[in-house]
């Protein structure tokens, strides 16, 4: 019972700001709404028993990425640009496609059979860590390479030409 309420609250917390994020004119507000939505996602992770992910989501997404986003928002364009129309010419197509997509996904997901009962959630940090360095070592290292590449790339791009 409580779970259902919590879930409903978290769902709203995820979806409403997400909808607002892609709708409002002010991009700064849009970024802020994103933060809220991401926090809601973290909550969902927690509800699903993924404790490590819950924390990682907060740290990386809301703490890192959105901050970066906000930095760039502020660095590119003046506030007067924030109030122009933000929806482009093909929004109708997008809307239609999204609506149909939702319908499609709902139909598809409905067909996934529900399991009979849930096992109780256990702390996931240790198994997760172990899996990462044992079974998924290669992807783990590859991701770190990617992060390195991204870093180098970003630095290169954001350097001013001198």
């Amino acid at each position: 019972m409580i779970a259902k309420l919590v879930f409903a609250f978290l769902a709203v917390l995820v979806l409403v700001p997400a909808g607002l994020a892609v709708t409002v004119k002010n991009i700064f507000h849009s970024a802020l709404w994103l933060v809220l939505s991401l926090t809601g996602v973290a909550g969902l992770f927690a509800l699903l028993g993924a404790d490590f992910l819950f924390v990682a989501q907060i740290l990386v997404y809301t703490g890192g990425i959105t901050v970066l986003l906000l930095f760039v928002v502020l660095l590119s364009g003046s506030p007067k640009d924030w109030i122009v129309r933000q929806v482009n010419g093909q929004w109708a197509w997008g809307l239609a496609l999204s609506a149909i997509f939702v319908g499609l996904l709902a139909t598809l997901f409905k067909q996934i059979p529900e399991p009979a009962e849930l096992t109780p959630a256990a702390p996931t940090s240790a198994p997760l860590g172990l899996m990462l360095v044992r079974d998924m070592l290669l992807p783990f290292e590859a991701v770190s390479l990617v992060l390195l590449a991204a870093l180098v790339g970003a630095i290169h791009f954001s350097k001013r030409n001198s």
């Binding site: 482009n88 093909q90 997008g94 496609l97 149909i100 499609l104 598809l108």
Partner: protein, 663 residues
């Protein structure tokens, strides 16, 4: 002798070819070839004539309708059941004609040495003369219908060539055309008659035609054939209404006139009537037509002769008139008389023409009003022409013409054709009148042109010798052919005529009538001419003024005007109409129409080329390519979100496909 008779026509033919091609390298341009050949022909013909006279039964081995004859032929080609042959048939008529033709031809050629001397195309002239001689001889000796026709037509060609010999003069060219075309009209009828005859008798060969064969032709068919054949005779012998070409034919050189248009070619029509006499005997209607044509022609031509001032024209009309006499004789059935007159006429008419030629050569004019008193300056010519004059007026007993003309008048009288007899008698009076007039105006009296008279001179021997020979013949030939070597042996009278008449000249009372009439005509003519032209009363000029209509009627050529009108209506008017039609309708409408259509199609085509080929096919493709390109290019907006949308749609489709939405 007769076995080589075929050479008589062939040698002149060869001579004409030789002279034509090689004359320029020969002395006298080859004239001597022609003369030599003519002389040889004359000698040969003389021998043949002698043989025919003396040994007819031995020489003329075949018996035919018109008498005995000799025949020799070779086949040329055969088409179906028609056998074309070239051959020689000699009977009395042909033998006489051979002599006449070769003699006159020879004399004319000798005469021409002087007359044509210095004139252009001397050699060609002789070639033409020989060619004509050959043509006439081919006709005379022919033994079948087609060869006869070939000779006939070749003579027409020669006449054309010779009349128009001085073709630089438009009058001569016109005259030669007129002669050819007029005789051609007659030849059409002649050819039709020939074809009918061939169809009726089933053969073209004269000899094969037996008496039974001829009887088989019904009177209607015989009339048709006879009249058609007479068309040809009327054309060639210048009878009414096809006589119009002969006066114009005087444009040719005078020796030509003597040979062709006096003695020989024009006589071919009469010869034709003799050859086909057995057809004419079957048709009284045809014979009437022939007789009346001859009589009226004789009268009409004589009337025209009294007012003519050109000496050759007078002689031309005289020829027409005398031919009328011959045709008249043939028409009443006495072809012996006709052929007899043909023979004597050949001699004296040739003499008259050659004499006239001598005068013309001397005073350089044809017009008698410019002559006069030439008898003193040209005695030989005067004397010889007087002999011819005596012959033509029929001076009793001493001229050849007397005997032949008497024979004709007697024949007409004995056939009880009194109207024709009166016409013939009156014509005899006219003949005497105009011929005496000619002699008076030319040779007697005071010269009317002093300058010409001064330069007048007698002609050379090449001209006077033939004149002399012909003069002798004019006088004696009648006597000879009547008493010594009777013409009757050559050309026997037809059976009916013999039955009706007597052959003795002087015993019958009928013959006294004839003699009386002819003597009266002669006397009146002489007196009249003497009165008018020597004594001067009645004065011819005042007569002309008092009766201007008659005078002009005599001189005017009504027939010519009529024929011209006929040709104009039948030929020129339709031709003009057709020409206009051709221009207006065919040219303007069709040709220009086709042109307009062509231009229209060309415009259409150019429009198509511009708008469709260029516009659609060429530019169109370019335009389409541009438009399609532009259209397709619009996809490339450069805006990433558009691409994203497209990609999203594609993914969407893929998902649908993956879940089996598309079946």
């Amino acid at each position: 002798m007769l076995d080589h008779a075929y050479l008589i026509p062939l040698l002149p033919l060869a001579a004409s070819v030789l002279i034509l091609f090689f004359g320029r390298w020969l002395p006298l341009e080859g004239a001597f070839i022609g003369i030599a050949v003519a002389a040889w022909g004359l000698v040969h013909a003389g021998f043949i004539l002698g043989a025919v006279y003396l040994h007819p039964v031995d020489v003329l081995v075949h018996e035919g309708i018109t008498g005995r004859y000799f025949e020799m032929a070779r086949d040329w080609f055969t088409v179906g059941n028609f056998r074309m042959e070239l051959g020689v048939m000699i009977d009395g008529m042909a033998a006489m004609m051979l002599v006449v033709v070769t003699l006159v031809s020879f004399l004319v050629q000798v005469y021409s040495l002087g007359y044509q001397h210095g004139k252009p195309r001397f050699g060609r002239y002789y070639a033409y003369l020989s060619f004509f001689t050959a043509a006439m001889l081919i006709l005379v000796v022919s033994n079948n219908l087609l060869q006869f026709f070939i000779g006939w037509e070749l003579m027409g060609v020669s006449s054309y060539l010779l009349i128009g010999f001085e073709f630089e003069r438009p009058a001569a060219a016109y005259a030669s055309r007129k002669a050819f075309i007029t005789t051609r009209v007659g030849d059409l009828g002649f050819y039709a008659g020939l074809l009918l005859l061939f169809t009726a008798l089933g053969t073209a060969n004269f000899g094969i035609i037996s008496a039974e064969h001829v009887r088989a032709i019904g009177p209607g068919l015989a009339t048709a054939i006879a009249l058609l054949l007479f068309c040809g005779a009327a054309g060639k012998s210048a009878q009414l209404p096809l006589h119009v070409w002969l006066p114009d034919a005087m444009e040719g050189p005078t020796p030509v006139s003597a040979l062709i248009h006096a003695a020989t070619m024009v006589a071919a029509g009469v010869f034709l009537l003799g050859r086909f006499s057995y057809i004419f005997e079957l048709s009284p209607i045809a014979q009437s037509v022939v007789a009346w044509t001859g009589g009226l022609t004789a009268l009409g031509a004589a009337l025209s002769a009294i007012t003519a001032t050109d000496i050759k024209k007078v002689l031309a009309y005289s020829t027409i008139s005398q031919l009328g006499y011959m045709v008249l004789a043939m028409g009443v059935g006495d072809h012996q008389a006709g052929m007899f007159h043909l023979t004597t006429h050949a001699f004296f008419k040739a003499l008259l023409f050659l004499g006239a030629g001598s005068v013309i050569h001397s005073v350089h004019t044809n017009e008698m009003p410019l002559m006069g008193g030439l008898g003193k300056k040209m005695p030989v010519t005067f004397i010889t022409m007087s002999c011819a004059w005596l012959a033509i007026i029929g001076f009793p007993y001493i001229s050849s013409g007397f005997y032949s003309k008497e024979a004709i008048l007697a024949a007409v009288y004995e056939k009880h054709q009194y109207v024709l007899f009166a016409i013939a008698g009156f014509t005899a009076f006219l003949t005497t009148f105009y011929m005496t007039r000619l002699m008076i105006l030319t040779f007697i009296g005071t010269p009317r042109d002093a300058h010409r008279f001064q330069h007048a001179h007698e002609s050379g021997p090449t001209m006077t010798l033939p004149l002399s020979l012909l003069a002798v013949l004019s006088i004696v030939s009648g006597f000879l052919l009547h008493y010594i070597w009777p013409f009757a042996k050559l050309v026997p009278k037809a059976a009916e005529v013999v039955a009706e008449a007597s052959t003795d000249a002087a015993s019958e009372p009928g013959h006294l009538v004839v003699l009386g009439v002819s003597l009266a005509a002669l006397a009146l003519g002489l007196i009249g001419a003497y009165a008018v032209y020597v004594l001067g009363s009645p004065n011819p000029k005042r007569l002309a003024e008092r009766f201007p209509r008659i005078y002009t009627a005599l001189g005017t050529r009504y027939f010519d005007a009529f024929y011209l009108k006929l040709v104009d209506v039948l030929c020129f008017k339709p031709a003009a109409f057709l020409a206009a039609f051709d221009y207006e309708v065919v040219d303007q409408f069709f040709v220009d129409g086709v042109g307009t259509i062509g231009r229209f199609f060309s415009r259409v085509k150019s429009w198509i080329d511009d708008h469709i080929v260029d516009g659609v096919l060429v530019n169109g493709f370019g335009w389409v390519a541009l438009k399609v390109g532009a259209g397709l290019r619009s996809v490339q907006t450069g805006v990433v979100q558009n691409y994203l949308l497209a990609a999203a749609l594609g993914v969407f489709a893929l998902i649908l496909w993956a879940v089996g939405a598309f079946g």
